[in-house]
């Protein structure tokens, strides 16, 4: 239950092709994250799968059945919205029970399922409150509860954590991951935050301008980005991309090296002056002005006694250097 296949799915709004054609398979029980910058079509793609938008072409099939023209309610998918979209005049209990009530389930079964969902999500004490009386994280849980009770084939999350503060985001992130491990249901999760993508996903789909740039596990994308876009998007801080003679020396148009793959000190081949140093305790991030190489970001582990104005030498770690051709694609 919960295998979703997209075949040449297209979407245009008037003249604008938002999604020119996407092929994608989401396997049963997978946690798939759609990630990309704003306006890349990731939310539109999710809404196409949900059935909230009509496709302009292509086929969406859910569990082997053509769902392209099915109304949202018939697709057995549950969605958690960015604004939570709770019904403000209903209690938490009624909110969670709403899809069951619409399905015409009898009251005893509704009660059982609502209580079950409330137990999973620690909502027991709030069942008789209104959404307006809850905090952001609690509202988020209610929205997830409303999705769980339907026992859907797959969950769709549309940037569910973007309205929460940083600390809450981390804990909700973990809760959603744990929920996935408990329920083992397919989940599709849309975010613009690559940290969320890296930490939660079984499979990341990187989108840019309506096209899929790369599909793979978080570590695959981290180690072997297929092109410059993915290289720049995945990883924090961003990968250093160097053009010019230094790249030509490696037979490439652009070379990429992650900040954590540059060693400081010794008699490294690269030389530069520290412009900015951010000391986080566990890590130190340096912005190094490296002359012809441009500005490099370098990560040093732990507390490092290097400050603004210091001149340092750097060595890229062997085998961690990535090479890209003139078309932006990675060279093997």
């Amino acid at each position: 239950m919960g295998k979703i296949t997209l075949t040449q799915v297209r979407k245009s709004f008037g003249e604008v092709d938002v999604i020119p054609g996407i092929d994608l398979t989401i396997d049963e029980g997978e946690f798939v994250v759609f990630v990309g910058p704003s306006g890349c079509g990731k939310s539109t793609l999710l809404r196409l799968i949900a059935g909230l938008e009509d496709t302009s072409g292509g086929v969406i099939s859910i569990d082997g059945m053509d769902a392209t023209d099915l109304p949202p309610a018939k697709r057995r998918l549950a969605m958690v919205f960015q604004s939570y979209a709770l019904y403000p005049h209903m209690s938490v209990r009624k909110n969670i029970a709403f899809p069951l009530k619409m399905a015409g389930m009898d009251a005893a079964e509704q009660e059982k399922r609502v209580n079950h969902a409330a137990r999973i999500l620690n909502l027991g004490n709030y069942l008789d409150r209104r959404p307006g009386q809850l905090s952001g994280g609690q509202r988020q849980r209610v929205a997830i509860g409303r999705a769980i009770v339907r026992e859907p084939a797959a969950f769709l999350f549309d940037e569910p954590l973007s309205n929460l503060d940083a600390a809450l985001r981390v804990s909700m992130r973990q809760e959603i991951s744990e929920l996935h491990q408990t329920l083992k249901t397919t989940m599709i999760y849309v975010t613009h935050d690559q940290v969320e993508a890296m930490t939660m996903a079984d499979k990341i789909v990187v989108l840019n301008a309506g096209r899929i740039e790369q599909v793979g596990s978080p570590m695959e994308l981290y180690r072997n980005p297929a092109n410059l876009f993915v290289a720049g998007f995945i990883g924090s801080p961003k990968m250093n991309l160097i053009e010019g003679p230094e790249a030509a020396r490696h037979n490439a148009t652009t070379i990429g090296i992650r900040p954590e793959h540059i060693d400081i000190g010794g008699d490294g081949p690269w030389q530069g002056v520290v412009g900015l140093s951010e000391h986080l305790g566990s890590d130190t991030f340096l912005k190094v002005n490296a002359g012809p190489l441009g500005t490099l970001t370098v990560r040093a582990s732990g507390e490092v006694d290097i400050h603004h104005g210091d001149s340092i030498r750097m060595t890229p770690q062997v085998g961690k250097l990535l090479r890209f051709g003139a078309d932006g694609k990675a060279l093997k």
């Binding site: 949900a50 059935g51 909230l52 109304p71 949202p72 309610a73 998918l77 549950a78 969605m79 919205f81 960015q82 604004s83 979209a85 709770l86 019904y87 403000p88 005049h89 209903m90 709403f98 899809p99 619409m102 399905a103 409303r146 339907r150």
Partner: protein
């Protein structure tokens, strides 16, 4: 800002306006109250005598009073029903995207700008007239007998005219409320398997309750004192079939020259309005709280 000093200054500067408003209200009310205890007939000026509650006694015990009271309530309730239900339907219609939306919205609001006397005269002479009216023509075209609205269904006709005037107001308020309805909530309900009608009942109507309350409260205030439409169409008749309390007060004071009796009627109308207001606030006032 909120120091003791600035608060005192604020009160001081507000007081002339508050005082003026208070006088504006209290002087006419006090005069009406005073006249209501006098035997005050316009045909016998200068011969006013104090008569206690006689004016109230005679005003309430005239046969027209109870029919006027029930006409007032029927008028208010009838117009409220038509405008609230019609307003919701019209607002739902206008909320749909269609070509020429802007112009249509302006046209819908237009009746609100027509003054009551004018619109009542237009209805009386151009629509409801049994000889020349549009409805008469339409009936004749269909081979039916024209219906004389204002003599055979006077109260219903006035309800129709007043409702026509207030429908735009209700539509406008309800339309703005509809436009603030959260789209993601609608989509969530759609995914939860709610059909159009269920979404209307479970999401739209609860969302509209506050606006409906506002519409009911504001309209009730104005509908209790409908007068111009009655004066220019039926003159309260035939008999007292379309006389409401306001019109009865007018008839008592200016047609029967009995200012004392009219004033007593006015005070009764004020009391009635307050009773209605208390009832309304008890029943639906809680909808206004955030």
């Amino acid at each position: 800002m909120a120091t003791a000093h600035s608060r005192t200054a604020a009160r001081l500067m507000l007081s002339p306006a508050v005082l003026l408003l208070l006088l504006w209200m209290i002087v006419p009310l006090g005069m009406t109250l005073y006249f209501s205890f006098l035997r005050y007939n316009l045909l016998m000026p200068g011969m006013e005598t104090f008569v206690g509650f006689d004016n109230y006694y005679y005003f309430v015990n005239q046969p027209a009073f109870w029919s006027a009271l029930s006409n007032t309530l029927v008028l208010v309730l009838g117009v409220l029903c038509i405008t609230v239900i019609g307003g919701i339907l019209l607002a739902l219609l206008l909320d749909q995207p269609f070509w020429g939306q802007g112009i249509v919205r302006v046209l819908v609001i237009a009746p609100f700008f027509v003054m009551p006397t004018v619109s009542a005269l237009v209805w009386k002479n151009m629509f409801m007239n049994p000889v020349n009216g549009m409805f008469a023509h339409a009936a004749k075209a269909l081979g039916l007998q024209p219906f004389d609205f204002l003599s055979h269904a006077p109260l219903a006709s006035i309800i129709l005219i007043v409702a026509w005037q207030w429908l735009p107001f209700a539509t406008l308020i309800l339309l703005t409320a509809l436009q603030s309805l959260d789209r993601e909530q609608q989509e969530a309900a759609e995914m939860d398997g709610a059909g159009w009608f269920q979404r209307f009942i479970y999401l739209t109507v609860p969302h509209l309750t506050r606006s409906i309350t506002v519409v009911i409260l504001i309209q009730t205030i104005f509908l209790l004192s409908v007068f111009a439409e009655i004066l220019v169409t039926t003159n309260g008749g035939p008999g007292t079939a379309s006389t409401n309390l306001t019109y009865l007060v007018y008839a008592q004071s200016l047609l029967n020259y009995d200012v004392g009796g009219g004033s007593a009627g006015g005070i009764i109308a004020v009391i009635l309005a307050n009773i209605v207001a208390i009832f309304l606030m008890r029943m639906i006032g809680k909808n206004l709280e955030a």
